[in-house]
Symmetry: C2
Subunit: 589 residues, 2 copies
């Protein structure tokens, strides 16, 4: 109560002063823009564009879309986010997991790559825009907290594996029938591996080797040569560009597309994105809704985590609800300019930050460069082998497989580790959308399970203090005829029977006990099921000749108990402010 | 920890002494059986049998089964429960809600009343037997606690309405097409009411009037005449028998079945139940599983609540897991003797208790009488009008509509009332099985929601004591440079961001604060998501020039924090046993 009102006052005060900048955060950096910010913004904008061109095309192919859609989704959404987003360094655009979700959601409704398929993806962007925008406006940003870290980590790792293996067909030049089940895909690839196209495999594996070298070794080697960060960062991040150029030259020069049947990207239309519209069809929206919800939540989670972690490094703040509004608006941008769902990407944002982006201008420069690319450079992508794009995706998602978190969580808390493993397994076994739902449900049920068997402690007095702690952990004084018992959980339907049974067992074993003091310091609420059980427990104790007392009942709990007449029932003189007060009254000090 | 081990010792000790009686509880009453118990047992057995004959047939019809199946389910299962059950007064047999669940689960698979339909119901009894028996053996009885009282109350009220309206077709003599949706049924009945059979309606409404009179007025009138309980109870409970006899005589005497087209029960086969077998077909079991789970849970809940409430009136104990074993075995009994799923019924158990049942022998006497009925009396039911059975069902379930609980819960706790209303609405809107699932999910989500925005209080010292309470509720002393803050909830994924935001806001508003003491008296665990957030919060506070301290950390929480190195990170000297110790150390007393 107290703190809520304090908060509200302070927030209301601040809000008044920045109502304009709250909804248009770019004004904050625009009015104070300094010339020295410009160098970082331009450099970062260029580097991210260099990463984004091949990634955008690759992720579009992962989503089952023509490659240019990935580029279209990398122009207007970036400008909109630059204007509305509260993070100054988040790089918005197509990302791997969202692309996979698009493929799963639209894959069963239309043929991959067809005009209908594209328009369904556009419709999905529209729905995601509505969901995220509305969630931001009605301030539901907190809802995403219901996805715990372990569940997200398990989901991301499993999705990375699914994405990686989905690229096998391009990497091997093998026509793998599309399937929902992960293990069928692996099985098919394993049994048909002899049917691979050897030239395609060579290009793919070569690209992977180059990308790994750029990602993991080149940067350090350049640093050892004494080169400055301003050169090391862009060079070491240009791996995707290098494999794209090399792969394209190779296929073009040796005519591998016709001579060795290497699959290539082919015609990519030139020119700015066309104006596009989603389907306005309620029954279709209903079909797409689960996918749209999954993209909205998962996309937002990825985006807000990287935005927060980067912002905290520079003491900047991101606002959860404004972020939802900005991402929603970015998805509207994607909808009307031929794109597909976008969000803030992890790796590109980190690069943007490291390359020195200072404001949202960096994003806009990236968008400008992608715009120039689609106008002038698309003919160059004709001979680009698909195996190269597959290699780019595989190397990008490989880093998402997160064994470290599992180890850490396992050591700290087995229940959290269990929800991580369940999510991981469920995503691989039953697919990514149902998988994350199962994981979220598992985390909630484990929480209920944990609170359903609360820790309870008999407490005694520590020395001459007024502190009362667990008799088994501390050297404390107790009193034979008074049992002081602390229940370490709120009392509610899932644990109320457990409490009753435990208390009755303990009292039955101690015939000398005449008074039971229930210490409520950890009881944050008592629901109506628990209240009923408590009433019957008190009656049962009474019949056994044990009087019931309570201490340390919190204000909000007490208010409720008073309102229903419970306090009058057990007698207001049986309720004490502290254990010590109870013990003094019962003659135990 | 402490209490678990204490319990285990005492339970193990007791268990040894009563291992035999634990699994065969009837031995307890059999070896001490006194002659004076016999009168009560016989009287109660007879009265329950008188109720059970019409109820058994009525509930079988409600389940879509031939009437004799209800009688078959009232013989062997009662004997088995009498041997294995821990309640001495529970009356097992067909009940309304389980019958409705059978109708819903089997109704879509076979034609009502057909041989296949009967065998599917028998298979359902078999699955329920397996589920309940196994749950009892592996001691999962506590699982049913996950259904909260408000959810159950909402479910029961809505199911009573669904059951009541499902009988309209018999009461009106109107062919209402069977439908899942409750409102369709009501709509059809309302628009076609002119097509009712007037004689049937008269018999039905007349029966309802007689039943109401017996149930609500006759008992008091007899008492006013000075008659003893031993006469009042059986007479006032014989309403169903009276309407059955009167209705049958009326139809037979006036030939209403042929002359006025009144629907009658017709041929009921004579003789003891045949030996029957369930289908052994895994894919069919999979189809029936959701219904079997619903019956197992809901049936057990109804049974255990009435068993517990009756047992506590006589200081007897029922054992949750043994009850599951006994009910499971009773359902096996139903499976192999032509019955359908059974459980302990509410109203019959209350009657059994009130009529003086002392031991499980009462149940066995009831079974014997039902056995004699199926051997000798079935020809008498030929002319029994179905409208009479419908009236019996309607009056029986009317008492289950529970407005009182809703009022009480509403006054005490709006969230509990919300879950009750959601369950009620969901059962009426989408059907009883999905409805109860939605209700259970709503209760869990409301719990998560509640814990996701924990109450927090800034605390200060009460007088000269060592007690620290909310500054807004008590007259306490605080200290400007030390902020002592109590968080009234365990820290876990759903509330961790809320905690971080709130703490940072409060500290930002108080530049004079140099130390923050997080009071952990209500923190019962810290999951790995919360640990991560806590680490970043400490860093942020440090940057703002605020030192972080903790007090009142419980043993189990402390163990975890130590294991992961967190305690070393923040410094063991920043953790205090009590708020008072922290305040003394920080120079605030």
């Amino acid at each position: 109560m107290a703190i809520h009102s304090l908060n509200t006052v302070s927030t209301a005060h601040k809000t008044k002063n920045r109502l304009v900048t709250r909804y248009l955060p770019f004004l904050k950096w625009l009015v104070h823009y300094r010339r020295e910010d410009l160098v970082g913004d331009i450099l970062a904008g260029v580097i991210v564009a260099i990463m984004l061109v091949p990634q955008g095309m690759a992720y579009a192919l992962l989503a089952g879309l023509p490659p240019e859609i990935g580029l279209y989704a990398s122009i207007v959404p970036l400008i909109i986010y630059g204007l509305l987003g509260t993070s100054r360094t988040l790089a918005v655009g197509p990302v791997a997991i969202v692309s996979l979700l698009v493929a799963t959601g639209v894959g069963t409704l239309a043929e991959s790559g067809s005009g209908e398929y594209v328009r369904l993806a556009i419709t999905l962007a529209f729905l995601v825009g509505i969901i995220q925008f509305l969630m931001g406006v009605v301030r539901l940003g907190f809802l995403v907290n219901f996805l715990s870290h372990p569940v997200l980590a398990g989901f991301t790792s499993a999705a990375a594996i699914v994405i990686g293996f989905s690229q096998l067909k391009h990497l091997l030049g093998l026509a793998i029938p599309s399937t929902e089940a992960f293990y069928e895909l692996v099985l098919y690839a394993a049994t048909n591996i002899m049917g691979s196209n050897p030239v395609t495999v060579a290009i793919g594996l070569g690209s992977i080797a180059v990308l790994f070298y750029f990602k993991n070794y080149l940067g350090n080697q350049l640093k050892l040569l004494g080169l400055s960060e301003a050169i090391v960062v862009p060079v070491s991040r240009s791996g995707p560009l290098v494999v794209v150029v090399l792969g394209t030259l190779l296929v073009w020069g040796l005519g591998l597309d016709s001579r060795a049947n290497v699959s290539i990207v082919g015609d990519v239309p030139a020119g700015l994105p066309p104006l596009s519209l989603p389907y306005f069809d309620l029954s279709l929206w209903e079909v797409l809704l689960p996918t749209a919800l999954a993209i909205s939540f998962v996309g937002y989670m990825e985006s807000i985590s990287v935005a927060k972690s980067l912002a905290s490094k520079r003491r900047e703040k991101v606002e959860a609800n404004q972020e939802l509004i900005a991402l929603g608006a970015a998805n509207f941008g994607a909808t009307f300019t031929g794109g597909y769902p976008v969000t803030g990407g992890f790796s590109r944002s980190v690069v943007n930050f490291a390359a020195g982006a200072n404001t949202g201008l960096a994003s806009m420069i990236t968008a400008l460069l992608i715009g120039l690319t689609v106008i002038f450079l698309t003919p160059l992508f004709y001979f680009l082998p698909r195996a190269v794009l597959a290699a780019i995706i595989m190397v990008a998602v490989f880093g998402l497989i997160d064994i470290k978190t599992l180890k850490h969580v396992w050591r700290y808390n087995k229940a959290d580790a269990a929800s991580m493993i369940v999510t991981f397994g469920a995503v691989l076994a039953v697919g990514i959308e149902t998988g994350i739902l199962i994981g979220a449900a598992a985390a909630i049920l484990l929480f209920i399970w944990r609170t359903s068997r609360p820790h309870m402690a008999i407490v005694g007095r520590v020395g001459k203090s007024e502190t009362y702690r667990n008799v088994l952990r501390h050297d404390v004084k107790t009193c034979p005829h008074v049992l002081t018992m602390r229940v370490d959980e709120s009392l509610y339907f899932a644990n109320t029977k457990y409490l009753e049974d435990t208390v009755l067992h303990i009292v039955a074993d101690r015939p000398e006990v005449k008074h039971l003091v229930l210490v409520g310091s950890a009881i944050n609420f008592i629901d109506s099921s628990a209240l009923e059980t408590l009433e019957s427990l008190i009656k049962e104790l009474h019949d056994a000749g044990v009087a019931f007392h309570m201490s340390d009942i919190k204000g909000p709990v007490m208010d409720r108990l008073k309102s229903i007449g419970f306090v009058d029932e057990i007698g207001v003189d049986h309720i004490y402010l502290s254990v010590h007060e109870a013990m003094e009254t019962l003659g135990c000090t």
